[in-house]
Amino acid sequence: MTLAPDTDAQRGDAGRPVTPGSWLGWVSTTDHKRIGLLTIGTSLVLLLVDGVFALLMRAQLAQPEETFLAAHLYNQLFTMHGSGMIYTVMTPFAIGLGVYLVPLQIGAPGIALPRLTLLGYWLYVLGALTMLAGFATPTGAHADGWFSYPPMADSVHSPGTGPDLWIVGVSLAVTGSILMGWAVLWTVLRRRTRGMTMLRLPVFCWSMIATCLMVIGSFPALLAAMVLLGVGRADPDVFASNVWNIGYQHIFWFYGHPVVYVMFFPYLAAVAEVLAVFSGRRFFGYRGTALSLLVFAALSMSVWGHHMFATGQAANDYYSLTSIALLVPAGVEYFGMLGTILGGRLRLRVPMLFALAFVPQFLIGGLTGIMVGTPVIDYHVTDSYFVVAHLHYVLFAGSAFGLFAAVHYWFPKVTGTLLDERMGRLHFWLLVVGTNLTFLPMFALGYLGMPRRVVTYATFDGFGLLNLLASIGAAFLAAGMTVFVVNVLWTLRRRHLGRAEPAGDDPWEGHTLEWATTSPPPRLNFPADRPLPPVTSFAPLLDRRTGGGTA
């Protein structure tokens, strides 16, 4: 048992040291920074794997009546791409970022419940591997899409062990996310340092509160859905009744919509932090943004049925009401971001580029979100490429850009070294071109009548040109991601060889407490010989720099 006497005077106590590279030290670590890094690293690797699935799909769809992939393989690919990205990439990365950053930002030496957090990580890894293991079974991996409606996903219509492994894997992965969510929420509520009141929490911490509340509230519903699916696979008679078919959709989407915001808030907040820091000023409308995040999160629990407008079995008016109401808190957050950069002195470094691109790109996802939240529009565009375009603008053009902003922004804190700026810019521009070239044509495709989850389309449908454009865009994305991987590996290699220039503790003139410690931070986060700066507002380091107090 280690006792840390005080946050600003933590002395290392006795204990057998483990060499930094020791694998045992990593697999059984209780250091939130290591657990966070393991989570982030794992999800980045899976991002590449699931990204390759998408590239294969784009190759298949580049031309009409293509026969590059067989239908069953294509179905496996879109299922593993979608479910992999949602359950094992964007969600764990978002929560893992919280595991790493929240204790640092609130001035705590560690996370609450570290062993539970570690268990969460391992369940997530094993779950992700189990899902992918389906490819090794004779009938292949699961192939019914990330929401896998019964009766399509029952054992009569989808025989084989691939779907069973998928159910087990998804259950484990989501359990892991729930455990991590609990730990992060408890930490931010109960482990704040002296002076860190709730209204001095950084915006990122507020986003994690809202995120983890949604995790606690909605993620167990996915477990329930998986249990229902598992029971139905054991006894297909269950899904002979419409009660459980429509019931599954309700239970699934009760998880399935809040998760979208779990995959959004942390990235939005990372963007908010980056915008504030690189504008050299405090985030605009802090209180309004914190409140709007909570309202947003509560509303997000009530909108699940907008995925079911076309089922003819949902209270469409209610879901339309709550979905459209989302524009109020979302608008408040947008005004906050715009108010921050408007009149600021902007420094256009790579994290800032990603954050700036997030603003208009996510907006496309958000505005089309209002459209698909309107029943009379949704009847036409749901389950079409319009929805595919919309969700990729939210999750890729939006959240993934926030993800890359976060990686570039916090990389020097985590490793002590900056990522290469030139490669970062190349990565950025390739991604901007690739993203819009890939996903913009999909709006038109959906409008013109291309359904999602089709392995190919007839020549006379006339979808060839737009699909070709989208596939060319995907090639840009592949190039951009290659640059990113090279950048990270090359920088880490240089750091390993001792050739990298040290970034210093605070290379960006940050606002929040993680920039007050060394890069990388010591085991207990804040060195004993350096007292924490007084927490005077949600931007304590900015206060210290400007000598100002509240604002």
Partner: protein, 119 residues
């Protein structure tokens, strides 16, 4: 009130969920959803209660911490054990022969607290 803001926040968020649930009931929806969402509101209130109990027991902003690092060696075997229990449902109960000893080992490691110290 200030001191218990975290608990109030969680409870308030739960109440907001409850209000939205009431509005849903006005519009009428599948009964299953009332149970599901109602259960969630309950879980949130229990969580708020836990936060309240915790902050009444100890001050809101901590200055002293326990950083537990014992027994973390038991986590990975435990996770693998849970995976095997899950796979039992796919491949049959015989996997329990491996899963149960692993889970016991995990519990033993957690209780006995042998692990590599990190510092």
């Amino acid at each position: 009130m200030r001191r218990h803001l975290p608990a109030v926040l969680v409870a308030g968020w739960g109440v907001l969920n409850g209000l939205l649930l009431v509005v849903l009931a006005i519009y009428r929806e599948n009964t299953m959803t009332y149970w599901l969402w109602g259960g969630v509101v309950l879980v949130l209130q229990l969580f708020a209660l836990a936060v309240l109990v915790s902050s009444r027991a100890r001050p809101d902003q901590h200055v002293r911490y326990r950083v537990p690092d014992r027994g973390a060696g038991g986590v990975l075997p435990g996770a693998v054990g849970l995976l095997l229990v899950g796979l039992c449902l796919v491949y049959g109960r015989w996997l329990l022969v491996v899963a149960v000893p692993l889970l016991m080992l995990s519990v033993a490691l957690v209780v006995r607290g042998t692990t590599a110290r990190e510092k």
